[in-house]
């Protein structure tokens, strides 16, 4: 193989991948390893950071061999990672101190509830853009330090370091105990609940709230700059890009202009929209975040809406109801009927995320009659994913006055054409699937390649993007209006199902921790009127 390539690591929730790309952005190789998931208690989900680092060590030669290149031909390395997963390690031994606590883990609910009870939610939203939630890394760091108070002292002396996964990998790749570079990037830092979303620096007030010593924090850097040079198998390769996975997918989908949007459909779904260079006001419904910051350029912002259950609802049909044998067969079953037969599923199995944010909501199936067959259930399950996407898009339109022109999609569920068509129909915009489905890796590669001049500019990258499929809206507007209002009515049945606990009761581990007084819950009127429909008098707020 002649010429050079760009490498990217996607450190994901279930596996780590390493891919090589050529100048046209085409995949040359892909090596992948799954790591163990540990569930020591209900609501706890953790990984072993040392295991993940060992995997990276094995993936490098595998990917290089597949493509027939050696490290000297790698122009740059980019990293994307599962966001919010928290690691603490010993600077002198290089070993992690405790588990890597993942983004799904809810063990910090007491810490988060405590912050809310002390009336800190407003300040936190104001500074970080985030509502206090067990998602974010900051409370996890506090939990780790609270477990072992001696760590906090050592951390204050700079002997114990904190990082999200990209920080951990960059530190190790650049030499670890032997001169490892301790940095994070703005997108990952924006999901810690410790960074000021305007200044893009660690915020002392937040650090005080969480009792985190500043000395243990990595330096916040842009998404595209040379953080350091790799040692070991990739010796000499500049590590030149890092992004959280959802932002990496946004970048890999070349969503470079305000209004460009992507949605990743996997177990859950994550929709991000580029909102341009101004920090979005905290909306009632979707979270403001950083899309990317390239070198010294001003940062570009985004809003993000996440949907808890999309693919996992299909898994539930498969594993718990045993209606289907494999996830793709949900399409076969759904096509056995012409429509949903009046049946709607609201998959609020553990509350609803954006834009409803109701932890007390629970799943419902409404509209059952003796006419309903399992095909209708399958169809309703797929339509639920489409209508939840629609809710997020409508909320963004309402909060920010942004209207989508197309939606770019990726993830395992995009192989479902019935679903993709329904998403196009519900949103009334074309839905596009790009040719390179590994958009997370591609985004990290793009950032790194831009830094070292492998690619000239964003425009060049946009030209690499090719559509593999497009679904155009076909639904009659009257049907859309009817179905969306039926969906809203179905959601009303799901909201507030779990009785509110008396305030004195101790929070349970699994209980989502969105505070009752947080504005996005309190300000949410009943479903139909909360969405930015034509009847809304004040869409832009």
């Amino acid at each position: 193989m002649n010429g050079t390539v760009v490498a990217a690591i996607d450190q994901g929730t279930t596996s780590t991948r390493l891919m090589l790309f050529d100048r046209q952005g085409r995949t040359l190789s892909l090596a992948q390893r799954e790591h163990q998931q540990h569930f020591p208690q209900p609501g706890w989900v953790q990984h072993d950071a040392d295991e993940i680092w060992r995997h990276v060590g094995r993936l490098v030669p595998e990917a290089l061999e597949q493509a027939g290149v050696d490290a000297r031909q790698v122009a740059a390395l980019g990293i994307a990672n599962q966001r919010e997963t928290t690691v603490v390690w010993d600077r002198t031994t290089g070993r992690s101190l405790g588990p890597a606590i993942t983004w799904q883990d809810t063990r910090t609910s007491a810490i988060v509830d405590g912050l809310v009870a002390r009336g800190e939610a407003g300040r936190i939203v104001e500074t970080t853009g985030l509502h206090p939630h067990t998602y974010f890394a900051g409370p996890r760091l506090r939990w780790l330090l609270d477990q072992r108070p001696e760590l906090r002292e050592r951390a204050a002396r700079g002997e114990v370091l904190f990082g999200t996964m990209e920080t951990w990998l960059i530190w190790n790749l650049t030499g670890g105990v032997d001169g490892g570079v301790h940095v994070t990037d703005v997108t990952n830092a924006s999901r810690t609940m410790m960074m000021d979303l305007t200044t893009l620096t660690w915020d002392d007030t937040m650090l005080d709230l969480l009792d985190v010593p500043r000395a243990m924090l990595p330096e916040i850097r842009s998404n595209a700059e040379v953080y350091g040079t790799a040692v070991g198998r990739l010796a000499g390769v500049p590590i030149a890009g890092a992004l959280g996975d959802q932002q990496a997918a946004l970048f890999g989908q070349t969503c470079f202009s305000p209004g460009d949007a992507k949605c990743t459909y996997g177990t859950g779904a994550f929709l991000l929209v580029n909102t341009g260079s101004e920090r979005p006001r905290p909306g009632r419904t979707v979270l403001p975040t950083i899309a990317y910051a390239l070198g010294d350029d001003a940062p570009v912002y985004a809003v993000e809406g996440s949907i808890a259950m999309t693919g996992s609802l299909v898994q539930w049909l498969r594993d718990s109801l045993e209606l289907i044998e494999t996830a793709p067969q949900v399409e076969t079953l759904a096509r056995s009927v012409d429509d949903n037969g009046g049946c709607y599923i609201v998959p609020a199995f553990s509350g609803l995320f954006a834009p409803r944010w109701d932890p007390g909501a629970r799943g419902t199936i409404v509209g059952l009659t003796s006419y309903i067959r399992k095909g209708h259930i399958a169809r309703a399950a797929l339509e639920a994913t489409a209508w939840q996407t629609w809710e997020v898009v409508e909320a963004i339109r309402h909060d920010l006055g942004l209207t989508l022109e197309t939606l770019r999609v990726d993830g395992g569920m995009t192989s479902n054409h019935l679903l993709m068509q329904y998403v196009a129909d519900a949103l009334d915009v074309p839905v596009e699937r790009p040719l390179v489905s590994e958009t997370v890796c591609l985004g990290a590669a793009y950032a790194a390649g831009l830094t070292v001049g492998y690619w000239a500019d964003l425009n060049t990258l946009s030209h690499h993007r090719h559509r593999a499929a497009v679904w155009r809206p076909q639904m009659d507007p009257a049907v859309r209006a009817h179905e969306s209002s039926q969906w809203n009515r179905a959601v009303e049945h799901a909201l507030g199902w779990v009785p509110q606990r008396p305030p004195a009761a101790a929070p349970r581990a699994e209980r989502p921790t969105r505070p009752p007084e947080s504005p996005s819950v309190a300000a949410l009127p009943p479903a139909t009127s909360s969405l930015g429909t034509e009847s809304d008098p004040d869409p832009g707020r």
Partner: protein, 255 residues
């Protein structure tokens, strides 16, 4: 063997063997099966050996005991689910489109032609529409020829060979000769036989047990698929063959 009323005794006995194995809850010895049926061991053995050879009965290598075989479980699965096929094929087809810069189609056989179950656009950003569910004629397309030649249970098209272009095979003798070529080569071509100016190469996909379950094809302007007035380009053919092997491998292990 044939009794009055048309009952075939050995078939009845075979059914009885399967019922006994199905309800036993554990593997059985030949003697146990024979005594349950009230038959001689030799007779029982004849029946059970036949059932074993067709895959309906499994014999443990070490204990020699009998239980129900995998072949029975697979009976209920009429054929591969098209959406499972698409899901298995998706990443590989994307890579094929990106490598050849051609459109990629995956199809499964049905009685009147090859039905498209997956489609990847030609990566040149020209306006294209999804062709999923389109049924391609057996005699005028590469995908049609391949599923006709390699998929189980498909009869050759009857009687008229409809003309789509000047180059469509409309005479039975020349079409039969074309199909002999497909069977020998193991893959098929299409040279402006369905749509003027469009060429394609198609390769069979094999599923569980090596059965032909469908086909994958690349398609595009004739000059991008074929050498000038000659055979299909080697790199296009080899990329498609490799893709078919990769998809088939992923189908071999049922999810």
């Amino acid at each position: 063997m044939v009794e009055v009323g048309g009952h075939i005794q050995s078939v009845e006995r075979a059914a009885a063997v399967l019922r006994i194995l199905g309800s036993a809850g554990k593997p059985l010895r030949l003697a146990e099966i024979a005594s349950a049926l009230g038959l001689a061991k030799a007779t029982t053995f004849g029946i059970i050996r036949t059932l074993r050879d067709v895959g309906f009965v499994h014999q443990d290598r070490e204990t020699s005991d009998y239980s129900l075989g995998d072949g029975l479980r697979d009976l209920g699965r009429a054929s591969l689910d098209p959406h499972d096929l698409r899901s298995h094929a998706m990443n590989w087809s994307d890579a094929l489109a990106s490598r050849t810069r051609l459109e990629v189609l995956v199809a499964m056989p049905q009685l009147d032609g090859a039905r498209i179950v997956h489609h990847v656009f030609r990566p040149d950003d020209s306006a294209q529409v999804l062709r999923v569910d389109e049924v391609l004629p057996f005699h005028a397309t590469a995908l049609g020829k391949v599923v006709l030649a390699f998929a189980a249970g498909i009869a050759s098209p009857t009687p008229g060979l409809e003309r789509y272009t000047q180059r469509t095979f409309t005479r039975r003798t020349s079409f039969d000769a074309e199909m002999r070529g497909v069977a020998e080569r193991g893959w098929a071509t299409e040279q402006a036989e369905f749509v003027p100016g469009v060429g394609a190469v198609a390769v069979p996909l094999r599923g569980f047990g090596g059965l032909g379950v469908g086909a994958v094809a690349v398609s595009g302007p004739l000059e991008r698929v074929f050498r000038h007035a000659g055979p299909a380009m080697d790199d296009v053919v080899s990329a498609t063959l490799e893709t078919a092997v990769a998809i088939s491998r992923s189908l071999g292990v049922r999810p």
